[in-house]
Amino acid sequence: MTALATVAFAIAAFAPAGLAADVTDIGYVDQAALSSIPSFLSANRQLAAYKAQLDRQFARQLRGVRDAGTQARIGQQYQNRLAQRQRDLFGPLFQRAQVAIASVASSKNLSVVVDKRIVVFGGQDVTGSVEQLLSGPGDPIPPVSSPPPSSVGYVDQAQIDTIPRLKAANDDFQKFQAAQQQQAQTKLRQAKNDAERQAVLKNYQATLADRQKQTIQPLVDQTRDAIADVAKKKGLLLVIDRSNLIYGGTDITSDVTTALK
């Protein structure tokens, strides 16, 4: 996750009053529970076996390789092959799960389904119904209509981070972080005891925090304000990140992107 996204989540936002609405149409799914469905377990086992095989190949390839560039190249090849296998194995399963979630949400008149991890209280748990549908024979049937308009909005933080000035700030911060990290590593190697090492670490963290406050925080504030403005105009109750959304919701990413440009 980028620095902007990280900081955005960490902000305690102020809630404007007066936009209350009915929230009985919010559902959630426990994705961890879904992963224990036989088809997912089987795919996981296949992936684990493939990874074990790939690990052995990787270890053989790396044996005796001392050059950092070659190590990185081999490592990248390894990651690519593993990612491709993941896509092959899980892609069809995810599509099926998506249809099942949409079908259940539609039958329960839910306008939005989110990840259980962000639900602290309330909402409708549709995990059991989705599990049942996925474990049953045949493919789940897609709903005949789109989800109803939802008072829960979402943004694709990753897409917002590609706005040139935000991206430039992020890239700049990452370069700064890499340089600081290198310096800190050198100092850590020279440190004579734990106290010195602690001091190096604290200094490193403080330097990064300062820099983040100076260069990233103002952009985070602007982004949050822009999201809140768009949300108010559209009468939304709250806005979450796309990564926490599973079904439905109101996408305001493009409105926010336009506002920030």
């Binding site: 936002a13 404007p16 209350a20 994705q31 998506q98 979630i101 602290v120 309330g122 709250l238």
Partner: protein
């Protein structure tokens, strides 16, 4: 016509989490248990800033400490940022190899000089002996022939022996690295098994305890629920009974939470002990491996030394090429002379070779220390980070579960239907963060 679900784009990224068990443990909210009482915010959606709440939780200092430990380890080692990186090791190994090559060159030069010196002395002695016997013919060529043969043989033997020892050393080092990696994996797996067993045992005890608490309060809970089911109950009594039921739930949750906190501390201490033990065992066993490897190399070097000393220098057998016409007495005298110079040279050369072997042994020891330190550092740090992150995840899960319980009580009190965390922007929702903060801070007391 069937229109595709609008969710596909938004949900795909989230569902990818499924595959690899990254969808962390859920926070234990079950809507079916919730009975929202009428309140000023009835039907609204609430939200909390989970990061802010985690920061006021009594266990936050432990979490921050774990974060610091992970950050320190990540900064110090592992992966592409490893402090003693592959490139560092390669540089240090190259330096050791340079020192070894220089020592070998010095030894070769010293042996060559000594050889020439002894050949000259022997040549002079042979010439003197032949001169004294009145045979000037061929004395110079005999000595020169002896010296030339010795030089060629010495170079061949020294080069072959050194190549053999170097190959052998490389093979042993590779074997040692493989053995160290296997050992590291085995120790790590054993420690993980022990940790899991202890964690399972504690979790079982927690479940038993929770069950016993629930059983103890079963009668009271049933009585309260029976009262609530009485439709004729007035609002004040209903509120009072609901409050008593909530207090009962909270008492049990707090007792189990306290036990979990203690167990968490026990597990943390156990983790530290396991880490220390694995690192100690790894260091010991890698040390033993290195000693065995160095001993094997030393044996091979001794063999090479004997080979060099036995063959380098003047031809050890077959005597001197004595020209025709030399009598048996002179032949005997020349052979004695040769044997004496051979012996003197062997003794002198063996000292030089021994000195070289000592240098080589020291460089080999340093080389192995370097390889062993690398393996131990890298694997130890990676394992520590994994374990700390697991520990951190468990602790965070416990804290969030407790926070969720507090937020649930607040939401029920205010009649809020749904509460979520991690909102990007709140818009019209009700912020419960500061109220929850107060309740969580009271857990310190």
């Amino acid at each position: 016509m069937t229109s595709p679900p609008r969710s596909n784009k938004g949900g795909a990224a989230s569902l990818w989490v499924l595959a690899f068990g990254l969808a962390a443990c859920s926070h234990g909210t079950t809507s079916s248990e919730v009975t929202a009482t009428p309140g000023p915010d009835n039907g609204k959606v609430g939200y909390v800033n989970m990061d802010a709440l985690v920061k006021v939780h009594p266990l936050y200092p432990q979490l921050a400490h774990l974060d610091d430990d992970v950050a320190a380890l990540e900064l110090r080692s592992v992966g592409p940022q490893i402090a003693r990186s592959g490139a560092d090791i390669a540089r240090q190994e190259a330096q050791l190899q340079r020192e070894l090559d220089e020592a070998a060159d010095r030894t070769k030069r010293a042996l060559g000089d000594k050889q020439q010196e002894y050949a000259k002395q022997e040549q002079a002695a042979i010439a003197a002996a032949l001169g004294a016997a009145g045979s000037q013919n061929g004395s110079g060529s005999i000595a020169a022939s002896v010296a030339a043969q010795a030089r060629v043989q010495a170079q061949r033997v020294t080069a072959a022996s050194q190549a053999n020892v170097d190959t052998y050393r490389r093979q042993l080092v590779d074997q040692e690295r493989t053995a160290a990696a296997t050992l590291d994996r085995a120790l790590g797996e054993r420690a993980a098994r022990e940790y899991r067993a202890r964690a399972d045992e504690l979790a079982r005890k927690e479940s038993d305890y929770a069950l016993s608490l629930a059983s103890a309060d079963a009668a009271e809970r049933l009585s309260l629920r029976t009262k609530l089911s009485n439709l004729a109950l007035d609002d004040a009594t209903r509120a009072e009974v609901t409050k008593a039921l909530a207090a009962l739930d909270r008492k049990e949750a707090d007792a189990v939470g306290a036990m979990r906190n203690r167990d968490q501390a026990t597990l943390a201490a156990f983790q530290v002990t396991l880490h220390a033990r694995v690192r100690r065992e790894l260091a010991q066993q890698i040390g033993s491996l290195q000693k065995r490897t160095v001993a094997k190399i030393n044996v091979r070097q001794q063999q090479a030394q004997s080979q060099i000393v036995g063959q380098v220098g003047l031809p050890p057998t077959g005597g001197v090429a004595v020209p025709p016409g030399v009598g048996p007495g002179m032949r005997q005298k020349l052979e004695t002379l040769h044997a004496r110079f051979q012996h003197d040279f062997d003794r002198d050369a063996s000292q030089t070779v021994a000195q070289f072997q000592r240098t080589r042994a020291e460089l080999t020891r340093r080389f192995h220390a370097l390889a062993g330190a690398d393996a131990a550092d890298r694997s130890g740090a990676e394992r520590q980070i994994d374990a700390l992150q697991k520990q951190r995840g468990d602790l965070y899960g416990e804290m969030v579960a407790q926070i969720n319980r507090e937020v649930k009580v607040i939401a029920q009190k205010r009649g809020i239907g749904v509460v979520v965390s991690n909102v990007v922007a709140p818009a019209g929702g009700v912020d419960l963060t500061s109220e929850a903060q107060k309740d969580i801070e009271s857990l310190h007391e």
